[in-house]
Symmetry: C2
Subunit: 280 residues, 2 copies
């Protein structure tokens, strides 16, 4: 008799069980997963106690998930997997605005507002004029671009995290560009905040000596006909967590200026142009 | 500014965040995990939809777990990880009985029975005399060895899976050897059965074109003072799933003879010696 599983042939023995005729992409993914997973176990020579701890961790990470909490996305985020998938699927030439993680706090159907409106409905925090243009790679303005913006408030929470104490749609809105591609709205200078760290992922971060903070950022989803979707943030440059974002979302090109507003209508002004790629 | 996460440096960027002074074994394991996990994502260039499917799969696999069901152990089993961990932690010289997976159906505190007793309390299935000796690597009998045996019944279920229809401790018992190291008891010739396949792991097996069956086997946990613990099964040689055990537990040396019993007191007789390693 031959062909039984051994320590030496383990990954091949598992992958040989997949039948012909299954989805070829699934076969590619599972073959690679088994190969790398077994290589990991062999490299560290995982003990039975460690295996038990891993089973327990994976189980509790699933069981804490609810409609309001997705601990597996947090796990993917803090292990850099979310940003890696984002990077692989959104490679762009120099000059195009870079993507970053979407995050769990976007809500569809935010109100469409007029240029210059404020999205800060709770009046908290330092006021900031966000302004700039949506352009294509040739520098031409993009007309009809939808800029969907969302941000935490001055206490570090999104409206959906505090439905009882924040106005609905606080720090959210959609702005549609005209023929000049320009946008402007008044919001709050964002603040850094921790991801939810009272679950298994928070415990893991603590064991690794890592903090759970994201540096201050404002989320943007920019869409326009004929152009690729842009999912990004702008970051505040002097944030203490800029170099250690717990989800690895920071890119140097996404650090935006925040300067005192010379006309005094807001405390800060942040100018940032979004450069879209054409759909190919 | 330098040191931000990129597609190229992704694993190093994540691992650089771990602080000095954390548990060194945890650091070793997490560094290797991140390295292999990122290598997997890069090799297959995981799409955002596939990432979403993975998050959903991991979440539902956690959420189906209960006191009676451990879907993450099933996942580890069918991906060959459980057997790989078992193999790494139980390397033995030729001659010593090999280990195999413990499985989820052992129950502590089974009744201690007398040699020759029957463990089949429901009277179902084909009767079999299990007999042999517990020996050390030099062929000396091991006195006072505890042989803890458990098995499915003739319908393919363990007593704990059918608490309402099977007698408690059906097909379970502990036998303690005397100075000759010999054991014998009457049980049921085991039958093959599927692992629980109505959850995410069962769906995955179906998508991979794999069946959920384990070939017929009898579980043994053999312990004796001064000797290493042995966790193993014996398998029935003509089982149709012997070469395709869905959890990869079969080893050639664990296939036991099942022959008609010449004295007619049972239908079958299965002779198998357990060879223990000394504690080093």
């Amino acid at each position: 008799m031959t062909g039984f599983f051994t320590e030496e042939n383990s990954a091949q023995a598992v992958n040989a069980r997949m039948r012909d005729g299954i989805d070829p992409r699934l076969k590619t993914i599972m073959s690679a997963l088994v190969k790398h997973l077994h290589a990991f176990v062999k490299e560290v020579e995982l003990t039975e106690d460690e295996w038990n701890s891993a089973i327990e961790f994976l189980t509790t990470t699933g069981q804490i998930c609810s409609n309001e909490r997705q601990e597996y996305i947090l796990l993917s985020d803090v292990l850099g997997v979310s940003m890696l998938v984002d990077a692989i699927n959104n490679r762009r030439p120099t000059g195009a605005t870079e993507n970053t993680v979407f995050g769990p706090f976007h809500v569809k159907g935010a109100p469409i507002r007029q240029m210059g409106d404020s999205i800060s409905l709770d009046g908290k925090g330092e006021t900031c004029l966000f302004t700039g243009r949506v352009l294509d790679l040739n520098g031409n303005p993009v007309k009809g671009a939808k800029i969907d913006v969302w941000s935490d408030n001055a206490d570090g929470y999104y409206d959906v995290q505090q439905p009882d104490s924040q106005p609905r749609w606080n720090n959210r809105g959609i702005f549609v560009t005209g023929s000049d591609g320009a946008y402007s709205f008044i919001g709050t200078k964002p603040v850094s905040y921790p991801i939810p760290d009272d679950g298994p992922v928070g415990k893991m971060l603590a064991a690794l000596g890592r903090h759970p903070y994201r540096p201050a950022h404002t989320h943007f989803l920019v869409t326009a006909q004929g152009h690729q979707k842009l999912v990004t943030h702008t970051f505040v440059g002097d944030d203490p967590y800029l170099a250690s974002d717990t989800v690895f979302g920071v890119k140097e090109t996404l650090v935006a200026p925040f300067e005192p507003n010379p006309d005094g209508t807001t405390q800060w002004v942040s100018r940032f142009d979004f450069i879209l790629m054409s759909e190919s």
